[in-house]
């Protein structure tokens, strides 16, 4: 039988002025189960709390209702006090007499009656409360960062400098991402390699960072603080420990005409290769699709040349399973290809290139050593047209969103071109100029005012080739839609930023949400921008939405701070407001019938399938099981379950129906 105490607070005049607190305390004495009911001026004051604690002991109370202000204000205070007095903190509830009654109603009997009703509801609830215990989960203090672009590198360095271990997983043979391909960067025009390469080296040499390049995440189990991640290390076909990176194998590989990804198809590489000279790690990999040995069974020149006998043709992929406490996704983006544009020739004109190809043409380390040469015939282009919003903001054939970075890099490209070809003409077709960063609009104005780049407001309808020129058919909407035709030598399309290949697949592996374009979804767009809705998994950079470098790095440091914050605990303590699926003795096991409707409803993927096995090992039934590490206590599953097999601790069916019965 319950022994409940009720403590009604006047809150000075705040409650007392409209609610007759003395009368309320009297009325409460009649509620079945209430053995003690008093009122006091300020319950939250030290004497108030002490009074409650003494009453708990004196009257051997097993539950208390404090009728005072909003639980959103003082629930922790009174629960702590109740706990200190020796009862389970979750046996303490608050009735909100202030915000929901005295402040919003006039003085009178109805208000006093309402106050008593509010208390009655919570007394019924407390009667059905169960003692609960905060959930504690241990934390593995090793982070995994997936994606080794500038975002991933920054996350890894910040966490590592915070004193924790980091595993950086990169799918390509080198870290660096898109930034390693850039020539110079807006808005300062500093050399991309010069600022990135030192950070790449720092990441490689940091004692707390383990690089896993040429590797991909295959499987993720577990929950915050306790993930188990399986990574596939793809076979480079060489022993990284023996290889010194001398490059002899590369020099001698006879297979030299392979289109080079790093140079966006504007250069060539060998079958055994490092993607670019400053690659980290500087160890080659054999491209199985193009290596003569793997195609014909003959060659092995690289093996013969290698002074350290590092080549391993028989090397296989390796699966490694790691214990990880937190994961940061930083897998970046990809660009829409030029062949996506029917009206610009479906990619058949060699001199219509995308932004990244322009970066390689402008880069001192690129295929032309930074000299402006157009791809078709190597001539210096005298007129270059840049087309912004190519595929972006195009609901018909592209993506409806703005790619955010292209206004800026287009201004940069036009500028770089003018710096390299002084007599050249640069035209930019645009719809709006979105340059809302620090020093950004000034940068665009500089392109227009100082470098004399001509900006034309309009989209381009068609491009075709005639007498070695590209005829660009545009219009100028600032001249009432007048058609404008420009004969160009090269056209650069600022193609849309899209989510990276297979990002949906990766999101599903990690159980994080993604939007309809495949970008990973943040937990809240304004207040939790670096978290996902799966606890312990964070986001950085262009994998979430189009981003430039400053934003990527800022978000990366934010994600790192979250991880370091998480790792500052030995254990994670969580409110025990979680759902549970009932379990009963054999042969019933549970009222759960295994329909798994709850699984689809849970926003946090907290519901797993559990197999109940007979002693013989045969599966008798499959039941739902809630992972308390993942459950956030929303209760959606409870309402979804038709057999009432799930209940939510702290807001159980029994509690809520008990509350309803008092009405």
């Amino acid at each position: 039988m319950s022994r409940i105490g009720v403590f009604t607070c006047h809150c000075g005049e705040n409650i007392g002025a409209t609610v007759d607190c003395v009368k309320v305390a009297e009325m409460c004495k009649d509620i079945p189960g209430v053995v003690h009911s008093v009122e006091y001026k300020y319950m939250c004051s030290d004497p108030g709390q002490r009074q409650m604690q003494e009453a708990i002991k004196e009257h051997q109370l097993d539950g208390v209702v404090v009728a005072a202000c909003s639980p959103r204000m003082h629930e922790p205070t009174f629960r702590r006090a109740a706990g200190d007095a020796g009862i389970n903190p979750y046996m303490c509830e608050m009735a909100n007499l202030r915000e929901h009654c005295s402040w919003v109603h006039e003085k009178g009997d109805a208000t006093t009656q309402k106050a008593a009703d509010l208390i009655r509801v919570l007394v019924e609830k407390v009667k059905h409360n169960e003692p609960l215990h905060p959930i504690k989960v241990p934390v593995t203090r090793t982070a995994m960062v997936i994606g080794g672009g500038v975002g991933g590198i920054q996350v890894a360095l910040d966490i590592a400098n915070g004193g924790h271990k980091v595993v950086l997983v990169e799918k390509s043979p080198s870290i660096g991402g898109h930034m390693s391909q850039l020539s110079e960067t807006f808005p300062t025009l500093d050399c991309s390699q010069c600022i990135l390469t030192p950070r790449m080296v720092e990441a490689a040499q940091h004692p707390n960072i383990t690089l896993m390049t040429y590797s991909e995440v295959e499987k993720v189990d577990g929950f915050i603080g306790n993930f188990k991640v399986t990574v596939r290390k793809k076979a480079r076909k060489l022993d990284e420990k023996l290889c010194t990176g001398c490059g002899l194998c590369i020099q001698k590989c006879p297979n030299k005409k392979i289109s080079d990804e790093f140079n966006e198809g504007l250069g060539t590489r060998t079958a055994i290769y490092v993607p670019f000279p400053q690659a980290v790690p500087n160890k080659p990999v054999i491209d199985l699709q193009n290596c003569t040995y793997y195609k014909t069974g003959k060659c092995k020149v690289c093996e013969k040349m290698c002074p350290t006998n590092a080549i391993r043709f028989d090397q296989e992929d390796e699966l490694v399973t790691l214990d990880i406490g937190a994961i940061v996704l930083a897998t970046g983006f990809k660009l829409m290809k030029t062949d996506a544009f029917p009206e610009y020739g479906y990619g058949k004109h060699k001199d219509i290139i995308d932004g990244m190809q322009f970066e390689r043409l402008a880069s001192a380390s690129g295929p032309t050593s930074g000299v402006m040469k157009r791809p078709s015939d190597g001539k210096e282009p005298e007129t270059v047209v840049f087309i912004a919003c190519s595929g972006s903001r195009d609901r018909a054939k592209g993506v409806p969103y703005c790619s955010k970075i292209c206004c800026m890099y287009t201004a940069k490209h036009a500028m770089l071109y003018k710096h390299k070809v002084h007599s050249g003409k640069a035209y930019v077709f645009y719809m709006d100029i979105r340059a809302a960063g620090k020093d950004y609009d000034e940068f665009v104005r500089r392109a227009i005012e100082e470098d004399e780049v001509k900006y034309i407001r309009g989209r381009v309808s068609k491009i075709y080739e005639e007498d070695g020129k590209l005829i660009v058919m545009g219009a100028d909407t600032l001249m009432g839609g007048e058609p404008v035709v420009i004969k160009a030598d090269m056209v650069v399309l600022a193609t849309a930023v899209q989510s990276n290949d297979r990002s949906e697949e990766l999101a599903q592996t990690l159980h994080v949400s993604y939007d309809s374009y495949g970008f990973f979804a943040e937990a809240h767009p304004k207040l939790r921008p670096v978290e996902t809705n799966t606890a312990g998994i964070f986001l950085a950079g262009a994998c979430q939405a189009p981003r430039d470098i400053p934003e990527t790095v800022a978000q990366a440091s934010g994600a790192a701070a979250k991880v370091v914050g998480l790792f500052s605990n030995d254990e994670l303590t969580r409110e025990p407001i979680v759902a549970v699926v009932n379990r009963q003795a054999a042969p019933v096991y549970s009222t759960c019938v295994g329909c798994f409707l709850c699984q689809g409803a849970c926003p946090y993927q907290a519901i797993e399938q559990e197999e109940i096995k007979a002693r013989s090992g045969e599966v008798i039934m499959t039941l739902a099981r809630i992972n308390p590490g993942l459950c956030q206590g929303c209760g959606t599953c409870v309402a979804t379950c038709r057999t009432k097999a799930i209940d939510l601790q702290g807001f159980s069916n029994e509690q809520i129906y008990a509350e309803l019965m008092t009405l």
Binding site: E99, V104, T111, G635, N653, I656, E659, L660
Partner: protein
Amino acid sequence: MDEKFEPKITAFVCNWCTYAGADLTGTSRIKYQSNVRVLRVPCTGRIDYMMVLKALHKGADGVIVSGCHPNDCHYTSGNYHARRRWMVFKKMMEVMGVDMRRITFSWVSAAEGARWAQLVNEVTDQVRALGPYAEFRQIIGAGIE
């Protein structure tokens, strides 16, 4: 209609938006009618509509269900599930002949203190005009024990 009839209104509200919004009504000292009794749940997703029927059965003349605005759900999609279930529930109730003017589904955010007062007043007035919901308790009451 009985001039003195004071309806009982039960409100199921989520902890993060509407409960906090109602708190704000208090801190802003906005007055509203005192007929409503609030039941706090973590999320509208927690609300099993049998609870709504139970409330009507146990004497409520009107029910309010209110949570976060679409896309603002603290639990990202709980209110979305609540809305989906609500559609089904509504159909079911219509078939059963429940007067849907008795049940109000709304959104009140943590910043909408005035909106909460307005909602409560509107519902209270409407239900007061409708009178006690005795039919429900007669027709269906027994069935949902």
